[in-house]
Amino acid sequence: GGGDGDGDGGGGNGSSSITFLPKNLGNPYFDASSTGGERAAEEFGGSFEEVGPTNATPDAQVPFINTAAQQGVGALVVSANDPTALGDALEEARDAGVKVVTFDSDVDPEYRDVFVNQASPEGIAESQIDIIAEQIGEEGEIAILSAAANATNQNTWIELMEEYAAETYPDIEIVETTYGDDDDQTSFDKTAALLQSHPDLKGIVSPTTVGIAAAARYLSTSQYKGQVALTGLGTPNQMREFVEDGTVTAFALWNPEELGYLAAYAAHALVEGDITGEEGDTFEAGDLGEYTVGADGEILLGDPTVFNADNIGDFDF
């Protein structure tokens, strides 16, 4: 850069300026979490910005981290497309004084201050397997429709699901894991391919909101409707009609808006110096009450909610 023209443009951008960087833009799950983040920022009087790439890849996320570092924002709230690839960029941002909070999908602990975890991976994995096992009578073939082949949280959950299913439900066989890239059309076509290649398929688990909605849409117009069970992680608004028409009986999710809300408050607490990310630190998160930082700088939102025909009317996100 040249020499002149700064005025107050270059200097400190306020302390509680918070930038949300989801995996990608145009994803309803992250729209909800950003809504929560923005609401939190309004409450504690900070500024809020959402930036992000169109494609959910780490190389597309890095420039946004760099930009946040250049702007000297107070805190960056990231859902990472890769656990290590963002590491260096995040480290540089922290060197520039930016607090780093990850949510939804973590990076390696050394690269961030805290991780706001939606639910424990074990909890997520087990609840989904339990739901599907119940629907298919604890035996038969099931398949998994994931997001990107490299999505960390997905891969962790899938691994835990496989272990748990093998231990608890020996008659259930996971026959295939396929990847819809969190793209609507791809997930849709991959669902069709799953049903096609496995005529005896009993159930599909899709631990991603894009995937489960696309799969439900395919199933709802297919000959397999009502015969192949579907569950996973989905937002109530997206899944409502499929629960109503019987394509889906039950699915799970935490409230992504609350997740964003909590992440923003955690970021605020870091910026204000209320917490440092040490185990045992506590902070107030608005309506949600008090939270404590756990081991490895993790903050746990709570247990996921299971939605079904009885309770889905109570939720709107």
Binding site: G10, T54, D59, Q70, D82, A149, N150
Partner: protein, 368 residues
Amino acid sequence: MSALKPTPATAGSGGPSGSGGDARSERIYAAYARPAWQRWLFTRETAVIALLVGVLVWANVEVPNFDGPLTLYYLFLDLMPILLIALPMTLIIITGEIDLSVASTVVLTSAMTGVLCIDLGWSFGAAALAAIALGAVAGAFNGFLVGYVGLPSLAVTIGTLALYRGIAVGLLGTEAKTGFPDEWTDRVKERIGESSYPQVLIVFGVLAVLFVLLLHFSSFGRGVYEIGLNDEAARFSGVDVARTKLLLFVLAGAVSGLAGVYYTLRYDLARGDSASGLELQVIAAVLLGGVSIFGGRGALHGVVAGVLLIGVITSAMRLQGETENVTTIVIGLLLVASVVTPSLLAWASGRLPSRGRGKSGPGRSDPA
């Protein structure tokens, strides 16, 4: 035997202004029709450079944080793959061909580096060399089909675009290779002294000088232009058209391989979905820099300015908080404007003097 001499006036060299007093009636030719400043000023390249300077000034004054120490550092780190690949791409487009497979080659070589270094335990240096060699082989495959089999490069490289990325995705599957040696990943990010320029810029600088010498100061480079302007005439003057094209595609492949290694180190990662859309970014930058898609015209300094222009605009707009879409629109408009403006100017200047003469005459050169 054939004592053909270029006649008496061997002495009278081709100096710019003939010092009229050379003995015989032999004619002395001026080297240039226009003075030097005009030759430099009225070019596409100068226009792009001027635009780049203008945007830089604007960004420094108007965009908060643009004058910060990190801006240029990140700018160059982000642009490095485009800068690198734009060099051979310029030569390929000047011959009238195109290579759409470069981004896929980047991913393929990155995957290869990952497999060799992480899975098979090769030293990183050896893996990187193998990856660059693989890039050259991938380029050679394109070049063979285009140069020797005579297939249209657009069709061939659409095919290898899918093929090379497909092989990378097939090799890696769900895996992302990571954990490359720190000494290497750190090296990519080091700065030159205390400046805000990353050291990789030196690698680019060396390559850029080599490509400038190759294109603008060598017999080979003259051949590259001739092929683009008229490949038949080039063949009639002894230019080996097929071999030249092969070589250029090999260079593009090898440089893409280098960019693949860079990609791997910069993100400490080899993944099948990296570098998506990079090929079109490179081509857009090259065209913006004044290279004609028909071949035969363009220069490397314009191309480098074109790449930087896109980089500076992207960086400035991101700092301003504009979303990617707006940047995308601006770059698209720039690209269209940069090719339409010359036609519009020609059309306007052709129409104004010969007023009244209705539609444009039929003698116009072919489109497409």
